[in-house]
């Protein structure tokens, strides 16, 4: 079983007891976890000026037409 398969099983199988992992498996897991780089989870932006904000929805891009008097 690969390290990632082990991790998947640990997360998905409630009957899989982590204490039953062999010393080698534990070492493999710790190795893969320690080697994993950090990652960027920031997927949202807030800026102080609304005009600087992210691209607007297509429907919002069009300025509302002036009413004819």
């Amino acid at each position: 079983m690969t390290a990632i398969t082990l991790l998947e099983k640990l997360g998905a199988d409630a009957s899989f007891d982590p204490s039953l992992l062999s010393a080698q498996d534990k070492e493999t897991l710790e190795d893969i976890i320690s080697k994993a780089n950090t990652f960027n989870a920031i997927e949202l932006i807030s800026v102080p000026d609304e005009k600087e904000s992210e691209e607007k929805e297509p429907e919002e891009e069009k300025e509302p037409e002036e009413k004819q008097s």
């Binding site: 640990l10 997360g11 998905a12 976890i33 989870a41 997927e43 992210e54």
Partner: protein
């Protein structure tokens, strides 16, 4: 979110059956998703410290749309819930639909969901407010101190540049002062991080609001602020409702 645990069967099926998968998340999750579909392209490559994330997000959307326009079945897999505090998934779906392609979002398990489970918090008990930390600082928001307040992305609180990977103590000091309008420095708050793998525990660190300035934060840290005030009855509404019931009999 946790490898192996937090994926819906339908999301997995979409990933397995895609022509190409774009992924934004933890490297271990990326390895996990690669087992489902080997044609995986990481969206993490578009991030860079000092680079405006508006550019990053446009590049993510462009990468996905290029494959969509090429006629491929494309899946964008994102950390947590793809529609919760996540801009690119919403944008790419809007653009794809505007161009006439079929596109939809499949819900996932967000940090919020894990927080409720790990901290034993029910948002329905007294209500819950969620703000992106920087937005909370930039705009005048009405806080209800009798409800839970949950601040997301506190690690980059106050970043006007949209290009930082962290902001410092001076930024947090301002956030704490803003929160002091409703919460004293002694008020207990929780710093929360969902574990990436099942053999790790979640980060649940209860500290005082004042200590938040010195706290160690990451890009996945969420702050839970419990109520500082009790619910106040709206007696006039209660009286009007009682009158309705009385008149019904």
């Amino acid at each position: 979110m946790t490898v192996g645990a937090h994926i819906a069967p339908i999301a997995r099926s979409h990933i397995e059956n895609a022509d190409i998968v774009f992924f934004a998340g933890h490297p271990l999750m990326e390895m996990w998703v690669t087992e489902m579909n080997s044609n995986l392209h990481s969206l993490q490559v578009f991030y860079a410290e000092g680079k405006d994330r508006r550019i990053t997000y446009k590049e993510m959307v462009n990468a996905m749309m290029t494959e969509v326009r090429a006629g491929k079945k494309v899946v964008g897999a994102f950390y947590g819930h793809p529609g919760v505090f996540a801009l690119p998934p919403h944008n790419v779906i809007k653009i794809a639909k505007k161009e006439g392609y079929a596109a939809h979002m499949v819900p996932g398990i967000s940090a919020e969901d894990c927080l409720y489970a790990d901290l034993g918090v029910d948002p329905g008990k007294v209500g819950s407010q969620h703000f992106e930390a920087s937005q909370f600082m930039f705009y005048q928001r009405q806080v209800d101190p009798s409800a839970y307040l949950i601040l997301w992305q506190v690690g980059i609180a106050g970043d006007k540049s949209a290009a930082k990977f962290s902001t410092g103590k001076a930024y947090r000091q301002i956030l704490v002062e803003l929160l002091n309008e409703n919460y004293p420095n002694e008020h207990k708050v929780a710093l929360y991080e969902c574990p990436t793998v099942a053999i790790r525990e979640p980060r649940i660190e209860w500290i005082t609001l004042g200590d938040f300035i010195e706290a160690e934060l990451s890009l996945i840290t969420t702050m839970l602020i419990p109520p500082s005030q009790k619910l106040l009855k709206n007696q006039s509404i209660i009286d009007r409702l009682a009158l309705l019931e009385k008149n019904a009999h």
